[in-house]
């Protein structure tokens, strides 16, 4: 079983981007998606701390303390950029004006439940904007490893961790392939190079439907 590495997952996720849309990319692997935006596809990236039209990281000369992304990294602006308050930013998110949110997860259930903010008994840092994003954005795509470090499936019948959102995930892109949340379970949309259906079955607790 080969499967995708994090850059390949990001590249596959970039195929989800539709021309002319507004997109929010979460912290971690989702951030890498912006490196793989297909030719001819023009998307505008939102940063939920109050910016549309997020540009690349700055050069040393361009660093500006007043210009950061939601991960608190320094970034740059573009021609099209606009700034706004956090209230206006989440009005945009909550109101369904963002077409696509791509974010990471600890667990996803076959109902599309998502857990990615809290492990009981461990330090809780907070949900940031994740609950707003999954509740408000029109389409939610998760990028995550298919299994955790112990080899246990992260695509579950029920999430065991506290939820970030209930019935919010549309699609999961894992190292094993692309999976949609559909009525009755998880549908295999695509398998990564060298991954077999048996590999997927072995790594998936959630019901697979065809």
């Amino acid at each position: 079983m080969a499967g995708w590495d994090r850059n390949q997952m990001a590249a596959r996720a970039a195929q989800e981007l539709e021309d002319g849309t507004y997109v929010n990319l979460g912290i971690g692997i989702p951030t890498l998606v912006s490196n793989y935006i297909p030719e001819g596809v023009d998307v505008t990236l939102q940063s939920e701390n109050g910016m549309l039209g997020m540009g690349p990281f700055p050069t040393d000369d361009e660093i500006d303390a007043d210009l950061i992304n939601a991960g608190k990294q320094t970034i740059t602006e573009m021609d099209r950029t606009s700034y706004f308050s956090s209230a206006d930013s989440f009005a945009m998110i909550r109101g369904g004006h963002i077409a696509l949110s791509i974010l990471g997860a600890m667990e996803v259930s076959e109902q599309g439940d998502l857990a990615n903010w809290m492990i009981p008994g461990k330090l809780v840092k907070g949900m940031g904007g994740a609950m707003d994003l999954v509740a408000g954005v029109r389409r939610v795509v998760v990028i995550m490893d298919h299994t955790n470090k112990k080899g246990e499936s992260k695509l579950l019948k029920q999430c065991s961790l506290p939820l970030t959102g209930s019935k919010v995930v549309d699609r999961v892109i894992s190292n094993l392939g692309v999976f949609d949340i559909v009525d009755g379970g998880i549908k295999v949309v695509e398998m990564a190079d060298g991954v077999s259906l048996d590999d997927v079955k072995a790594a998936t607790e959630a019901a697979l439907v065809s």
């Binding site: 701390n49 990281f57 700055p58 050069t59 320094t74 308050s85 989440f90």
Partner: protein, 231 residues
């Protein structure tokens, strides 16, 4: 009635009280009211509840109030960058109320706008919804969140004028405009304090009506995650 004060300490005069609820602007260390936070530290006000998206880092931002154990409770969406915070939290000395980031921003706006509560889908089906009123609209379930009505707002802007009008710069705007609206008293610190008439009326982000007191501050503007690409 003059709004201009000569220092953060002077601007806070007569306003600070133990146990008060303070709404603070800023996101991470970006656009935070550095001077006012330092002056509250110096004043030693205790048992504060602070509504702010984040809690600063150990030695900067709201972290300096945590060091002095001046904060009883935080209302925040993410507090990950602060070891002192975690120590006090785990020891049971500090209470935290987690709010989804958009809910926190909207709660501040609601408080400032005389909206007692609002229905949002954010958090439905999660721990955040526990104990909150649920209501269906057009077949979808929403939860009731309440406005935040703070005793004091502290915000940081780029430019301000002597009438209290404010303009923010880039992503340093963030929570500042909504925090400014939800306090009984709002104090703003600015990088440039200008005479009335210096700001373009169509470009003012926070009208002076929301700002009771204003000072010119000195800003370190520390960067939390310096991230660059090759030139």
């Amino acid at each position: 009635m003059k709004k201009v004060y000569s220092s953060a300490a002077e601007a806070l005069g007569g306003v600070l009280q133990d146990g008060m609820l303070v709404a603070a602007g800023g996101f991470g260390l970006c656009g935070i009211p550095e001077n006012l936070i330092a002056a509250i530290r110096d004043a030693g006000t205790k048992n504060l509840t602070v509504a702010s998206n984040n809690a600063g880092v150990d030695d900067f931002g709201l972290g300096v109030l945590l060091q002095g154990r001046q904060v009883k409770k935080m209302i925040s969406s993410y507090v990950g960058e602060n070891d002192e915070f975690m120590r006090q939290y785990l020891a049971g000395d500090l209470e935290i109320e987690f709010n989804p980031q958009g809910t926190l921003a909207e709660r501040m706006r609601a408080g400032g706008a005389g909206i007692a509560g609002f229905y949002t889908k954010t958090g439905v089906g999660t721990l955040i919804a526990d104990g909150k009123e649920h209501k269906d609209f057009n077949g979808e379930t929403y939860i009731l969140e309440e406005g935040i009505f703070a005793d004091l707002s502290i915000v940081k802007a780029w430019k301000g004028d002597e009438a209290g009008n404010l303009i923010f710069r880039k992503t340093a705007r963030n929570f500042n405009p909504v925090a400014a609206t939800c306090g009984k008293v709002c104090i703003a610190e600015v990088e440039e304090l200008l005479p009335v008439g210096a700001l373009e009326p169509d470009s003012i982000h926070t009208p002076g009506i929301f700002v009771n007191r204003i000072i010119k501050g000195e800003h370190e503007k520390r960067i939390e995650q310096r991230t660059t690409r090759a030139a």
